[in-house]
Symmetry: C2
Subunit: 204 residues, 2 copies
């Protein structure tokens, strides 16, 4: 029926899913193409029918993954704006969206972290673009917040965006690896408090 392009699409999806978990666990180099094919329930030849090489499979995986993240962050920011929330509320919503994302795609996140700051790798430039797209969404909200006077003009936007990104990323990964019993709301509120400066005592 609707199936025409869908068959190929479907095997590609299965290959992505297989690859992402395996590579997150073992790393790119120690994951074999045979393993990926087996986990996806597909013949090895099919992998090469659908992707030019192991590296290309991985690059497309990265690109696909970051699209999911960027869209989700953007959606969180937009919804807040529609509801008439402040830009700081938007940041908070983005923290939540980030946590949701990491919960839904933990392997993708692990894999991304593991590769991002490496140098001399084939997919280096793919990864740079990908990172830039995600950070840009955060920076945009910060910039607006400064423009509306919500945040201080002294704010170092690129650095703060990185730091926020890192804060959410590491807290979420630690949460999942080392204290999975905590609820997402606990994590969210701890981060929210940190963002809004309610860590340091009463106020100020």
């Amino acid at each position: 029926m609707d199936s025409s392009g869908t068959r190929r699409q479907n095997t590609r999806r299965k290959l992505f899913e297989a690859a992402v978990t395996l590579i997150a666990e073992q790393g790119f180099s120690s994951t074999t193409v045979d393993e990926i094919a087996e986990r996806a329930g597909v013949a090895k030849g099919t992998v090469y029918y659908n992707f030019a090489s192991k590296t290309v499979l991985f690059e497309e995986l990265l690109r696909h993954g970051i699209e999911l993240l960027t869209d989700s962050l953007q959606a969180a920011a937009d919804e807040t704006a529609e509801r008439g929330g402040s830009r700081v509320d938007a940041l908070d919503a983005m923290i939540r969206a980030g946590l949701d994302f990491i919960t839904r795609y933990p392997s993708l996140t692990q894999l991304y972290v593991a590769e991002l700051w490496r140098t001399n790798r084939a997919w280096q430039s793919t990864l740079m673009q990908v990172r830039q797209k995600a950070i840009a969404v955060i920076e945009a909200v910060l910039t607006e917040a400064v423009a509306t006077g919500e945040l201080s003009t002294e704010l170092d936007i690129p650095l703060t965006a990185s730091a926020l990104f890192g804060m959410v990323l590491v807290a979420a990964l630690d949460w999942q690896s080392f204290q999975p019993e905590r609820s997402i709301d606990e994590v969210h509120s701890a981060l929210s408090r940190l963002l809004q400066g309610r860590v340091s005592g009463a106020g100020r």
Copy 2:
């Protein structure tokens, strides 16, 4: 004279130095023992004379590295206490120490980040201990700060410690990879501001 034990020590040091940069760039699996030996200016056999295996070499490297970090964070906290600074000042000093550390040993940091959240790896448990030691130093300061009333008792200590760690880590790595022209003081003050809640406008 003093040379007998020293010769081996020296070779091991050279091997560590060679391994840390190569593995940070390429990852553990795609770094060959031949490469490590060549960069260290030593024959391949020497690697195996000094270390039982490639994995053991790496594990010892991790252990050695984290000791440097933990000591440095602890020293920062202690010095602040001696000077009679508050516990929040101590956190600030630790941020600085973290940034200094990452500046001095960028490769070690990259490598650590890349491996920390992986599962099913040989050195998993080594890495867990190592992480716990570093986080514990931050948690101790947070606990003291709560005890003295400097920070709210509602503070979620483990989560906040993770988040702080991540904030510094990611901001520093991004700084080095993508905007190396910035000074360490700029980075420090941006993070400091975030920690002390001076991001969100006047006060709220």
